[in-house]
């Protein structure tokens, strides 16, 4: 299991589009459980509705955890997405 902490940089937080992007990218790592946690909210990183329901705003500190096949690659990809502001 590997983990890293990132900050949400997107102006509108993790709204529909970045949530969808995260879910789509994380689904490319089957056999790996990836979760994001911030405060008392957690979400499966492959579930777009859960991610949106977490309501992560700009500035939220998020802990990403990946556990399973290819966990480091999954984590790195997730971190890259967050840090690049999901291309916004």
């Amino acid at each position: 299991m590997v983990t890293k902490t990132v900050t949400v940089v997107n102006e509108q937080g993790l709204h529909m589009r970045p949530a969808g992007q995260l879910a789509a990218e994380m689904k490319k790592f089957p056999g790996c459980t990836i979760t994001i946690a911030s405060g008392d909210k957690t979400a499966k990183a492959t579930a777009v509705m859960q991610i949106m329901a977490a309501g992560l705003k700009k500035g939220s500190i998020v802990e990403i955890t990946a556990d399973g096949d290819n966990e480091q690659a999954a984590l790195d990809k997730a971190v890259e997405l967050f840090e690049s502001g999901f291309g916004e």
């Binding site: 529909m16 589009r17 879910a23 499966k44 579930a47 777009v48 509705m49 859960q50 949106m52």
Partner: protein
């Protein structure tokens, strides 16, 4: 003839026959089933069909409303594939041995409920998205016809509410307008309607649908939000004329695109726009405003729950300047008072907020706030053509202090190696009688004046703008106001300064000729009035 009132979403008048949108909200009944596998297969098939339908809708949206607004359908496709959503449906089928329709409906209620209860307006609106895709799946399951109208001729589509996908699916060629009983003007549906240029009125209420009949003639006024069903001859005639005038107006105003703001006798004047946020810039450019005569910087403070940082402000100002690509942008420093909701400022409650610690007075008594804004402004100045304007000015000493602080800020930036533009114009608002009366002393100190006629009228006529009881005592064309403006104009020009008007009076086309005669250099109005003012200028002849 019956009248109804809702919210107009797109300004245009439509006259035609009503066609009622049949919503396929076939009441979902809970049915016990034996073959749960079969139900899960039905869901799968319905979902696949839904995905196909949504892809088509997405493509139609891309063509008709552009990528930004079409994106929601991409998200709908993703939601369709969401693990939790699908697991929920399958679980319900398995554990309760029920039909697919029920499982989807229950899942929809649960997820929509979850989004509705979040404390974020954006997330609350997502509930509608969940319902939209779920209803589509259910419609596919029941085999209901999802085609909105079967009308052959163009009609006014009336519905309880329209989901985003239903709005986009409307055949623009068959729809004269649409009217819904519910809905919000910030919903995706409204946004899509605006972008599709379909006149629409929403939130007309339930009685409307109950009382209308298929084929009734109706008038839809997208400007006022009025619907008139079965209008009498007089009303119909009046609206047909309104529609004609509106179309002529739209045509004429398109003809003005790119034309100079010059009177028939050759007098030029600048026509600029007033805006309150970065989102309005599109309207400014669309209407050919020559620049921004008033950029209200308050939104940066009002939208935040704490003081906007220098970085945040710098980025906002930079964006406006860049978007206006060299056209003048005049940014007014923060103009708030105790009457506005900015708790974090810690402003004490005042008996007379209009006469109290507000605007420039806050900036001068709390210089850290002032300096932050000025630093951000000067830093941004290199990205375009910037003018900085100071509100609520009443004295020479105020202006001296302001200018001294500006010099300090510039020196500070210089010592930090940060660039700023020396060409940045400095101006003041003439919105107090004091400023107008001593405008001869103020003019030599600044590059320009801008008359804030709303406040100037209030302070000069000693009348509260917001007080409906005092309304009859307010004469916006009062000689006192016009004299103060003329005085300020003369003093400005005697001292090499230019003068503009950014208050509501600038848009009053009955005064355009008066202002032109006074030699006013610039009129700055709300984007929707820009073309009207330009048209009036071009039709004026001062030699007559």
């Amino acid at each position: 003839m019956k009248k109804y009132l809702g919210k107009g979403v797109y300004g245009s008048v439509a006259i035609g026959k009503i066609s009622v949108f049949k919503k396929c909200d076939a009441a979902v009944t809970r049915i016990h089933v034996e073959d749960t596998e079969k139900e899960k297969q039905r869901v799968k098939a319905a979902k696949e069909l839904a995905a196909k339908q949504l892809t088509e809708i997405h493509e139609k949206a891309l063509r008709e409303v552009g990528e930004t607004h079409a994106q929601i359908f991409e998200i709908h496709l993703m939601m369709l594939d969401d693990d939790d959503y699908n697991e929920s449906i399958e679980n319900i089928i398995d554990t309760q041995s029920v039909n697919a329709e029920y499982a989807v409906a229950l899942t929809s209620d649960n997820f929509a409920g979850m989004f509705s209860s979040m404390d974020d307006a954006y997330m609350q609106a997502r509930a509608a998205d969940v319902r939209d895709i779920s209803n589509r799946i259910i419609a596919n399951l029941t085999g209901a016809n999802t085609d909105s109208t079967t009308a052959d001729e163009k009609s006014i589509v009336c519905a309880d509410d329209l989901a985003p996908s239903e709005t986009v699916s409307l055949d623009k060629d068959k729809v004269l307008a649409f009217v819904t009983a519910h809905g919000s003007s910030n919903s995706h549906t409204a946004i899509l309607a605006r972008n599709m240029n379909i006149p629409a009125v929403i939130g007309v209420g339930d009685s409307f649908l109950a009382e209308i009949n298929e084929g009734d003639t109706a008038v839809v006024d997208g400007f006022t939000g009025e619907i008139i069903v079965s209008p009498d001859e007089q009303t119909l005639k009046a609206y047909t004329e309104k529609q004609k005038r509106d179309e002529e107006q739209k045509k004429l105003l398109q003809e003005l695109k790119g034309k100079e703001n010059i009177t028939l006798d050759g007098t030029k004047i600048n026509v600029f726009a007033n805006i309150s946020g970065i989102d309005n810039i599109g309207a400014v450019l669309l209407n050919d405003a020559g620049g921004i005569g008033l950029f209200r910087s308050e939104f940066l403070y009002l939208e935040n729950s704490d003081f906007p940082t220098e970085e945040q402000q710098f980025h906002a100002y930079k964006r406006v300047l860049e978007s206006m690509a060299g056209k003048k942008v005049i940014i007014r420093t923060l103009d708030i008072g105790a009457d506005k909701q900015v708790d974090y400022f810690g402003l004490k409650k005042e008996e007379n907020p209009a006469l109290g610690l507000r605007a420039i007075r806050i900036c001068l008594t709390r210089p850290e706030i002032f300096r932050t804004q000025l630093r951000a402004l000067f830093r941004a100045s290199v990205y375009g053509n910037l003018g900085i304007m100071f509100p609520m000015i009443t004295s020479v000493s105020e202006v001296e202090r302001i200018k001294a602080i500006c010099e300090e800020v510039k020196a500070e930036l210089k010592s930090e190696g940060i660039e700023y533009s020396d060409k940045t114009e400095i101006g003041i608002m003439i919105e107090t009688p004091a400023a107008a009366i001593i405008s001869d002393r103020l003019a030599p100190m600044v590059d320009f004046f801008s008359v804030g006629t709303n406040d100037l009228t209030q302070y000069t006529l000693a009348c509260d703008r917001q007080n409906p009881d005092a309304e009859e005592f307010v004469d916006t064309h009062h000689e006192a106001i016009l004299r103060l403006i003329e005085m300020s104009a003369q003093n400005a020009h005697k001292n090499g300064a230019w003068i503009g008007i950014c208050g509501e009076l600038a848009a009053d086309t009955t005064l355009t000729e008066t202002f032109l005669r006074m030699g006013i250099d610039e009129l700055s109005v709300s984007p929707t009035f820009v073309l009207k003012v330009r048209d009036t200028v071009r039709k004026t002849d001062l030699s007559k």
